[in-house]
Symmetry: C2
Subunit: 460 residues, 2 copies
C-alpha cells in the first residue's frame, strides 16, 4: 500500500547513498510496510536498506519478511547482525524460518544462539511438522493464583517485556499447574487488592497439547474467538502459548488446500511460483489422469451408440453442448453444498431438504436451458433452410435431454459431497472436474436413450 | 464440540423440569457452547433453557446465536427480558441483528432501548449496509495525551467496563482529535509515571472512516495484524472502533463469494438453506445460460465439420474425452493462478514467468494424456478385432489433439485470470466452467484440424 508508489524515489536515494534521508523517511513507517518495501527491492539492495533500520524495528521487520527475503538477508548481513536478529526474534517465527532452511544452514544458525535460546529452538524443532509445538512460544507470563492484582501488575512491568503476548496472563497453582487465565481486560479492570483466584473465570479453560495437529488448534481458535491458547503437557503443566496471529497462516494454508482440491489438483506444499516444475506437473497429472480414465467411458458409451450416430450425424453435433450443461450445473451444485457444509449451514442430516431443493432447482434450470436448446435447433434449421418436422423432433430430443442431464448433474453435484462426508472423506474431493466427468458419461447415455425413443423410425 | 453428545440427557432434564440440575450443569460452560446447545434444541425448548442462564451469561450467549435462534428467542421471551438483552448487547452485534429483522419488528425493538442506546442504534443503522459504520462500536476509551499512565489505569478501572475492547486505548489531544494508540501491552509494561505522549508510538496510526466499505477494513486488518482499528470522521475525531472479531464474518462472506464465483454461480446473499428457491434458481440460471450460449458454438463448430464426421463417425466418439481433458487442465491452471494472485504470491508482472511454467507444464501434461490416449485407441481396436493401420492413425490423431488441447487449456486457464486482473476485473470470474467452455469450442477446432491433416485420403 505504502511501499510501491515511491519505490523509484527510494531506489534513487539508495543509489545516491543518501542514508540519512532514508532513515528520516523510514522513521514513521510500520515494520510491515518496511518488510514489503524490502521484498520489492532487488536482492543486492535489500541488505543495504535493512542495515539502516533501528535495532528493534529491524527484528520486527525481519519477522514480517517472506522466507526468501529472510534467507537473502541472512546471507548478506554480518554474523554479528545475524546473531542479534536470531536471538531477538520471537521463538515461533524463528522455528518457522529454521524449518524452511536446508538442514546444514539451520545447524550453522542455531550455533549462533545464546544458550537459553539454543535450548528453546532445539525443543521446538523436536516437535513434528504441522504440530502445535512448532507454533508455540515458550515466552509467556504465569502468576500464582494467590497473588493480588497489584502484585501481578508489578510483576508484568518487571518481567513482561519478553512475553509473546500480554493479552492473556496465566494463573498457576503452587505446583505450576494451569488453573486459569486472565485477559488484559480483566487485569485492567480489576480492583488492585483483588486476588488472582477471584478474577480468573471458573469456566473450563481451553488448552492445547504440543503434539496436537495445527488444524485442531485452528478449530479451537475459530470456535472460542481467543487471542491466545495455552499449551500444556500431559500433566497439565503450562509449557507454551499459541497466539492467534500464527493461526492466520494455518488458516490460509488450509483454505488453499481446499481450493486446490476443488479445482481438481492435489494440494501443493509450496507457493505456485516456487514449487519445482516437475513436482507441479506430478501433482496435476495425478488427477488429470484419473479424470481422463473416467472420461474414457464416454468414448465407450458413444461407440455403443455408433449405429444411431451413423444414421444421424447431426446428433453428434449437440453432444458437447449437452454434456457440458450437465457438468456446469453439477459444478454449481457441488460448490454450493461444499461451502455450506464447511460453514456448518447444513449437515448430512439435511440431505433430504437439500435433495428436495435440488430436484426443484434442477428441473427449473433444465427447463430454462431446454427451451433455449429447442429454439436454437429449430431456428438454426430454418436459417439453413433445412427445416423439416425431423428438425423439430431433434430439437425436442435436445430439449428433453437437457432437462434430464441438468437435473441429473444437479442431483449428483449436490449429493456427492454429502455422500463423501458420510463416508468420512473430505467433501471438497468432489471437485468441479470430478463432478463434470461423472455427469459427462451418464449424460451421453441419457441423450442417446432419449434420441432412440423419439427418433425411432424417423431418423434411427 | 461439547454440546452434541449429551443433547439427549439435557432434553430429558428439560422434560423433567429439573431446572436446578440444568443450572448446575451449565455453571462451567462457555457462552459459545451454550449457544450451540440452544441452536440444537427444538424451538419451543430454546427459550426454556435460555431463561435458566445467569443475566450476564445470557447476553453473551445471545450474541453468539445465529440470527434464526435470536429471532425465535425474541418472540418467546418476556418483554422485560428482551429489553434487558437489547440494552446490554454490544452495539455492533445489535446492529447486525436489527438489520436482519423485518423493518416493522426492528422498529418495535428499537423502542425498547434506553435513550442512550436508542441514539446509538439509530446512528449506526444510518450508515450504508456493508459500510464500516455498521460494524463499529461507539464504546471505546480515549485518554488525554498529557495524562500519566497511572491516571490512565485508574481511568480504565473506573470507566472501562462498557468498552468494546481494552486491547487498545486511544489517545486524543485537547480538541478530541486522535493522536495515537496504546496497546494493552504498552499500558501493562510502561512505568506508572510516564506520560501517554511518551508511550504512544510515533508511527502513523491506521484509521478507518465510517463510510468506507467493509472489505477495505478487512484489507487493513489483514495487513497490519491489528486487534482493533479506530474509526474517525473527516476532521480526524474519533467516533468508533472496529474489533478484529467482527472481521472474521466479513472475511468468511468474502471467501464464500469467491468460492461461489469460481464454481460458476453468482454470489448468494444468504445461507444456501435459507435463500428462497426462486432466488437460488435465478442466481444459478444467469451463469448457466451464459455458458450455454457460449457452448452453442461447439455445435456450430461441429456442423462445420459435419462432412468429416459423416465419413468417420469414430472421430465423434472421442470428442467428449478430448474436450473434457482441455477443460480439466484449464480448471487446474485457473485455480492455481487465482489462488496465487489472491495470496499475493504472484502479480500481473509475473505473467511471463507463469506463461513459461505453464507452457512446459501443459506440454508435459498433454504428453502424458496423449500417450494414454493413443494406447486406449489402439488397444480398444485390437480387443474389438478391428485393428488396421487406420486405427493407429486415429490413435495418433487423438494423441496429438490431446497435447494441443491440454496445452491450450493450460495456457488459457492461467492467462485468463491475469488478463481479467489487468482489465481491473476480479480474476475469480474466470471460473472452472467458464474456462472449460472456452476450451471446449477451440478444442473441437483443434481436434478436427489435426484429423483433417492426418486422415486426409485415408478416412476423410
Amino acid at each position: 500500500m505504502i511501499g510501491t508508489p515511491i519505490l523509484p524515489e527510494i531506489r534513487e536515494l539508495i543509489e545516491q547513498r543518501n542514508f540519512s534521508a532514508l532513515q528520516r523517511l523510514f522513521n514513521d513507517w510500520l515494520p510491515v510496510d518496511l518488510a514489503e518495501l524490502i521484498s520489492d527491492l532487488p536482492e543486492n539492495e535489500q541488505a543495504i536498506l535493512f542495515r539502516l533500520l533501528p535495532k528493534d524495528v529491524a527484528t520486527e521487520t525481519f519477522e514480517y519478511l517472506e522466507f526468501e527475503a529472510q534467507q537473502n538477508l541472512l546471507a548478506a548481513l554480518t554474523q554479528k547482525d545475524v546473531t542479534r536478529i536470531l536471538n531477538s526474534m520471537s521463538a515461533d517465527d524463528r522455528t518457522a524460518l529454521l524449518e524452511e532452511l536446508p538442514g546444514t544452514v539451520a545447524q550453522e544458525l542455531i550455533k549462533l544462539l545464546s544458550f537459553k535460546e539454543f535450548k528453546i529452538a532445539k525443543t521446538l524443532l523436536a516437535y513434528a511438522e504441522n504440530s502445535v509445538g512448532r507454533l508455540m512460544s515458550p515466552d509467556f507470563l504465569s502468576v500464582k493464583k494467590d497473588w493480588e492484582i497489584n502484585q501481578v501488575l508489578e510483576y508484568i512491568r518487571t518481567y513482561g517485556h519478553e512475553s509473546e503476548t500480554l493479552n492473556v496472563v496465566y494463573a498457576v497453582d503452587d505446583h505450576g499447574k494451569l488453573v486459569g487465565e486472565m485477559l488484559a481486560r480483566d487485569l485492567l479492570l480489576s480492583a488492585l487488592d483483588k486476588k488472582v483466584s477471584e478474577v480468573i473465570s471458573e469456566e473450563k479453560i481451553i488448552t492445547l497439547t504440543a503434539t496436537q495437529d495445527q488444524t485442531d488448534a485452528l478449530e479451537a481458535f475459530k470456535r472460542y474467538d481467543n487471542v491466545a491458547l495455552p499449551v500444556v503437557d500431559s500433566n497439565g503443566y503450562l509449557i507454551g502459548v499459541v497466539t492467534v496471529d500464527d493461526m492466520l497462516d494455518v488458516a490460509e494454508e488450509e483454505e488453499t488446500e481446499d481450493i486446490q482440491k476443488f479445482g481438481g489438483i492435489e494440494a501443493l506444499d509450496d507457493p505456485y511460483i516456487d514449487i519445482p516444475l516437475l513436482q507441479l506437473v506430478r501433482k496435476r497429472a495425478v488427477w488429470l489422469v484419473v479424470l481422463f480414465l473416467g472420461e474414457m467411458l464416454t468414448a465407450s458409451a458413444m461407440s455403443y451408440f455408433e449405429g444411431e450416430l451413423a444414421k444421424a450425424i447431426v446428433l453428434a453435433t449437440f453432444i458437447p453442448l449437452i454434456i457440458s450443461s450437465g457438468g456446469n450445473s453439477g459444478s454449481q451444485a457441488a460448490t454450493l453444498i461444499i461451502r455450506s457444509l464447511s460453514l456448518g449451514e447444513i449437515t448430512i442430516r439435511d440431505w433430504w431438504a437439500v435433495m428436495r431443493r435440488e430436484l426443484l432447482s434442477g428441473m427449473m434450470l433444465g427447463g430454462i436451458l431446454g427451451v433455449i436448446g429447442v429454439f436454437r435447433v429449430v431456428f438454426w434449421a430454418m436459417v439453413l433452410h433445412r427445416y423439416t418436422t425431423v428438425w423439430l423432433l431433434i430439437g425436442i430430443t435436445v430439449g428433453i435431454s437437457l432437462v434430464g442431464i441438468v437435473l441429473w448433474g444437479t442431483i449428483a453435484g449436490s449429493m456427492l459431497p454429502l455422500l463423501l462426508k458420510r463416508l468420512g472423506l473430505d467433501p471438497a474431493t468432489s471437485s468441479a472436474p470430478f463432478v463434470a466427468t461423472l455427469v459427462d458419461v451418464t449424460g451421453i447415455v441419457i441423450y442417446f436413450s432419449v434420441a432412440s425413443m423419439l427418433l425411432k423410425g424417423v431418423l434411427l
